[in-house]
């Protein structure tokens, strides 16, 4: 896919940060509102897909290697599983234990009133971040590679 017209590229550049922020918001508020790692990650990845469509897959591949994105995806998955493993290192060990609950600093507070308190839910937001990272990288690399493959096929004809 070659790059599209200047109008499209400008609009994409303008709207990209907003979509990005919205996606990150959905990831970060996964434990309070409908959404979470996958949904927010899909939103961010659609912003990145928009970049691929507007600027062309070759432009993107010049800037970031597909191998590095795959690495990022692995990191997301490892974070998720390690969070599950950490549950084994605390008292009363269970796999997937919510081990950060009951501390006042990191998502550890217990919900007492009806207000939307983001600093709650323990390990769930952390897992949402991990899943979000994995989904962003995974969907991005899928779209990128598929777009590049179809470009290569057009070039062959």
């Amino acid at each position: 896919m070659t790059e599209m017209s200047k109008v499209v590229r400008t609009i994409t550049s303008l709207s990209f940060p907003f979509i990005l922020i919205y996606g990150l918001y959905v990831i970060a508020h996964g434990h309070l509102t409908p959404g979470g790692g996958f949904q927010g990650g899909a939103i961010v990845a659609s912003a990145l897909a928009m970049i691929i469509v507007a600027f062309g897959s070759k432009w993107v591949l010049d800037r970031i290697k597909e191998k590095n994105i795959s690495l990022l995806e692995s990191v997301g998955a490892i974070c998720f599983i390690l969070l599950a493993f950490f549950g084994l290192t605390y008292a009363d060990p269970v796999f997937f234990k919510n081990f950060v609950v009951d501390n006042p600093y990191l998502f550890g507070q217990v919900v007492t009133d009806n207000a939307a308190n983001i600093n709650t839910a323990g390990v769930i937001p952390l897992m949402n971040f991990a899943v979000g990272l994995k989904v962003i990288a995974g969907l991005f690399v899928i779209v990128l590679v598929l777009a590049y493959a179809s470009t290569a096929m057009e070039g062959k004809k």
Partner: protein
């Protein structure tokens, strides 16, 4: 910390670790393979070794004490009723299947070291292999229907990507596409059936569902969808066509794991028939929906169908295998025929089930069928490994062009002979023991079934004698004058499987009493499975 407390901790967390360690290894592999290829191979093998430690500890406990173990994720281990936790439930049959999965995955990883050396993209290959292993472990260990679906999909996606690993070959891609279409549709119908059950009983846990199963109209629909879809994933004729395609075109190491994946689906069929619908098997329903005609028990009507499908599976498998000229595709059809034996055991057990339970020849047939799952994984797996070694050495898969390889590949041809006798059910190898169980117990139900099974076994022998003749015997062909023996890792993989084949073949009764027997008892005794999770039993 004393040894006992460490062993106790290992045992408590073993069910989760069996799934989690391959999963962790899968995602660590891309990072480690950036350092060094050899380090990655060692890492993957050590991950499998660590997993086998947990499998060993858990299997030792389950087969000696014959208890059903549960593991609850993320909460206290005490179960409350109704069960709303995500849990693993491991009885002897699950453990039996987990052992098969472990053996095929471990051997495949060792085999891959030499077999896949010359190809690129191995970080993804090993990631997918470990992911697939985790998926298969999940399928056999889970106590939750929805998790079964999730692990089924993980296994299908990973194995599809592995079948298409040689993307330079059009046939591999075609086989992978056919496989993913079949498995996507199968898995979606499984999910539909799960949704039907969930909508009725508001539960996803297999034990809970089995305890409240009322066998209504919708339950019948769910049973049909589950059995149909899982049978397709297991490769029952006439839904087997994807199986020779994908077995024939995947790399040999992947094919070995695919055998395990197919049998994990077969485990699903066994579990659905005997545990989920265990209480309903002796209930009567009218065939064709007639008000007063043909009242048959569910077990009988399902059993007749399964037996018919099993007969067709055996016959079509061997007849198609006889005419193949592609080495691995031929073994794929032989694998179809072997699946028929397990289904025959299942079908005869369903036919002879009574309200009081299963006993006598029906139980023996079921034992034979379950025993044969293990033997089939080893025998057919060894055949595929030999085919892979021949392909590694000659880069040729057509039986018409191969010949005279026994001169250069002595050890490989010895392993082929062992596999040939084992597949064909010749004493003293393991295939004979399980097939003898099936023949003799099926003979009590209907002699014709037994005759067909023996005939199909004889034809399997004929099929593999043809392969032996055209690949290993005959004059040396100039093209293959300088063919080398397979490298050491391929030989080690084949030795492991051969030793298991001979060991089980010489000591079948010990294996039957200590491993197959508890597995069969656990499968038949559905109330034990329910009691382990649902408080207050049924």
């Amino acid at each position: 910390m004393s040894i006992e407390s460490i062993m106790g901790d290992l045992l408590v967390h073993a069910p989760a670790m069996i799934i989690a360690i391959p999963l962790l290894g899968a995602f660590l592999t891309p990072i480690i393979s950036r350092i060094n290829g050899t380090l990655r191979n060692v890492f993957v093998i050590s991950i499998m070794g660590l997993t086998s430690l947990f499998v060993g500890v858990l299997a030792n406990d389950i087969f000696t004490s014959r208890v059903i173990k549960t593991y609850v994720f993320g909460g206290s281990q005490e179960l409350t009723s109704p069960v709303v936790r995500i849990l693993l439930e491991i009885d002897a049959l699950s453990m039996f299947m987990a052992m098969i999965v472990l053996i095929v995955a471990f051997v495949a990883v060792i085999y891959s070291w030499g077999f896949m050396k010359e190809y690129t993209g191995l970080d993804k290959y090993y990631t997918l292999v470990l992911l697939m292993t985790a998926g298969m472990f999940g399928m056999v260990l889970t106590g939750d229907l929805f998790n079964f679906f999730v692990f089924l999909e993980i296994t299908s996606i990973a194995s599809c990507a592995l079948i298409a690993f040689w993307t330079t070959k059009g046939e591999s891609i075609e086989a992978a596409f056919k496989y993913i279409v079949i498995s996507a549709i199968g898995a979606l119908f499984v999910l539909f059936a799960i949704a039907i059950l969930y909508g009725q009983y508001n539960a996803l846990n297999i034990a809970t569902l089995a305890s409240v199963m009322k066998y209504t109209f919708l339950d019948k629909v769910a049973l049909v969808l589950l059995v149909g879809a899982l049978a397709m994933k297991a490769g029952i004729v006439p839904m087997h066509m994807w199986l020779p395609d994908s077995y024939g075109r995947a790399p040999a190491s992947v094919t070995l794991i695919l055998v395990g994946a197919t049998q994990a689906s077969l485990y699903g069929v066994f579990r659905v028939c005997f545990t989920l619908y265990g209480k309903s098997l002796s209930l009567t329903n009218n065939i064709l929906g007639l008000e007063d005609g043909f009242p048959l028990a569910l077990g009988t009507s399902l059993g007749i169908l399964v037996v018919l499908l099993a007969i067709v599976t055996m016959l079509v498998g061997v007849f198609m295998a006889l005419k193949q000229s592609d080495f691995k595709r031929l073994i794929g059809f032989a694998a179809v025929a072997e699946i028929g034996y397990m289904m025959l055991g299942l079908g005869v057990a369903l036919l002879s089930i009574e309200p009081t339970g299963l006993s006598g020849s029906g139980l023996m047939a079921l034992k034979g069928g379950i025993f044969h799952i293990f033997n089939d994984a080893l025998d057919i797996g060894l055949m595929f490994l030999v085919a892979g070694a021949v392909y590694w050495a000659t880069k040729e898969r057509s039986l018409d062009k191969l010949g005279g390889l026994a001169r250069n590949m002595k050890y490989t041809s010895i392993f082929f002979v062992i596999g040939l006798f084992a597949v064909a059910g010749m004493p003293p190898f393991n295939g004979f023991a399980s097939k003898l169980l099936i023949y003799e117990s099926v003979f009590q139900i209907s002699p014709i079934l037994s005759i067909v099974a023996i005939l199909s076994s004889i034809m399997l022998l004929a099929v593999f004698v043809k392969v032996f003749h055209s690949v290993f015997l005959g004059p040396a062909i100039p093209k293959f004058k300088n063919v080398k023996e397979a490298p050491i890792s391929l030989l080690v993989a084949m030795i492991i499987i051969s030793v298991l084949i001979v060991f089980i073949g010489i000591f079948p009764e010990m294996f039957l009493n200590n491993i197959v027997g508890p597995a069969t008892d656990a499968l038949v005794n559905y109330s034990g499975y329910i009691d382990a999770v649902v408080l207050g039993g049924m």
